[in-house]
């Protein structure tokens, strides 16, 4: 029964859309900075899945190359972002994003 169904690019695109939305909603409703960061990673991954799907659909290697760069940028983002989180934690003992709503030196 399952084998009769055909797997098309739309399946991947819809799944990527759902993953992106879950990440976006999580970014908005969570207050823990680390979890918000993880939601950003989730959104980046959904975008990557879309890139790979279209690379396959259009038979274009450029999509996969872009995903490669996205992975690198995400890794750099994690390095800097986690360092910022560690620095914030050192200043004030809180993990919520609302603690840092004032821009103070």
């Amino acid at each position: 029964m399952i084998a009769a169904l055909e797997l098309t690019a739309n399946h991947y695109l819809v799944l990527a859309a759902v993953l992106f939305t879950i990440g976006a909603v999580g970014l908005l409703i969570r207050r823990n900075v680390l979890v918000m960061f993880m939601c950003v990673e989730l959104m980046l991954n959904a975008a990557n899945l879309t890139f790979v799907t279209f690379a396959r659909e259009l038979d274009d290697v450029g999509g996969q190359a872009i995903v490669f760069f996205t992975l690198v940028v995400a890794a750099a983002e994690v390095a800097v972002g986690l360092a910022i989180i560690v620095a914030i934690f050192r200043r004030r003992r809180g993990a919520t994003a609302d603690d840092v709503h004032l821009l103070k030196g």
């Binding site: 084998a3 169904l5 055909e6 797997l7 690019a9 739309n10 399946h11 991947y12 799944l15 990527a16 859309a17 939305t21 879950i22 990440g23 976006a24 909603v25 999580g26 908005l28 409703i29 680390l34 979890v35 993880m38 990673e41 989730l42 991954n45 990557n48 899945l49 790979v52 799907t53 279209f54 396959r56 659909e57 259009l58 274009d60 290697v61 450029g62 996969q64 190359a65 490669f68 760069f69 992975l71 690198v72 940028v73 995400a74 890794a75 750099a76 390095a79 800097v80 986690l82 360092a83 910022i84 989180i85 560690v86 050192r90 200043r91 004030r92 003992r93 919520t96 609302d98 030196g105």
Partner: protein, 222 residues
């Protein structure tokens, strides 16, 4: 078979991402992130992106999530977060916004609009002699050579920036040494309070203000 794999790993990816969003413990969130990322790696494999699947597992599920877990353990943030909302109705608004985004993106993704020139950057599957790694590498080192080099610079900058940001800048001895080298007088009043230190001015002393404030915070907290 292929569809069955897709269904199983789509369910796993959704379960993992929902764990990230809804989990109470940040460690559970990180593990849900691993589940979602590995599932996406399986989709990469299904779509002839073997190199990216390997990179995804190594970089994301390996390095990035381990870094997350490391920070969670280091900071000890595995406790409940507050349900206090500073902005009223933000969570319902976020859910409504998410529903709108979902409907919009599903509307766009649910139909076949794969427009664009096929193989504009080069075909994904060249002759039978090339595998995926060789194809992607050929593109990376010819068409994308300049972005590739910039990426190297980006990584170096990110690593240096991360070290600078996460360095324990509150150590008094190190800062006093820097102040001595720059002004030659701050060593005498290094142990005094920030309010006394502030009027002395100087570029090196302005750098010392945040660590002094952090010392004060920790003293007040203890």
């Amino acid at each position: 078979m292929e569809f069955g794999i897709f269904v199983v790993f789509a369910a796993l990816a959704l379960a993992g991402s929902l764990t990230v969003v809804l989990g109470h413990n940040p460690v559970h969130c990180a593990l849900g992130l691993v589940l979602a990322l590995v599932s996406v790696a399986v989709f990469f494999l299904q779509q002839d992106a073997q190199l990216l699947a390997a990179v995804q597992v190594i970089v994301y599920a390996g390095a990035v999530v381990v870094l997350f877990l490391f920070v969670i353990m280091l900071l000890g943030v595995d406790r409940e977060e507050t349900l206090h909302e500073p902005i009223r109705y933000q969570r319902p608004a976020a859910l409504a916004l998410g529903a709108i985004v979902l409907a919009e993106v599903l509307f766009l993704a649910g139909r076949t609009w794969a427009t664009g020139t096929p193989s504009a950057r080069g075909p994904l599957e060249e002759d039978a002699g090339y595998n995926n790694i060789e194809t992607v590498a050929r593109t990376l080192f010819t068409d994308f050579l300049w972005p590739f080099e910039i990426t190297a610079a980006l990584l170096v900058i990110a690593v240096v920036g991360g070290v600078v940001l996460a360095r324990r800048s509150g150590q008094p001895a190190e800062l006093v040494d820097e102040g001595d080298a720059a002004t030659g007088e701050s060593g005498t009043n290094a142990g005094s309070s920030p309010s006394e230190r502030a009027p002395a001015g100087g570029p090196a002393l302005s750098r010392m203000a945040p660590p002094a404030a952090s010392e004060r915070d920790t003293e007040a907290a203890s």
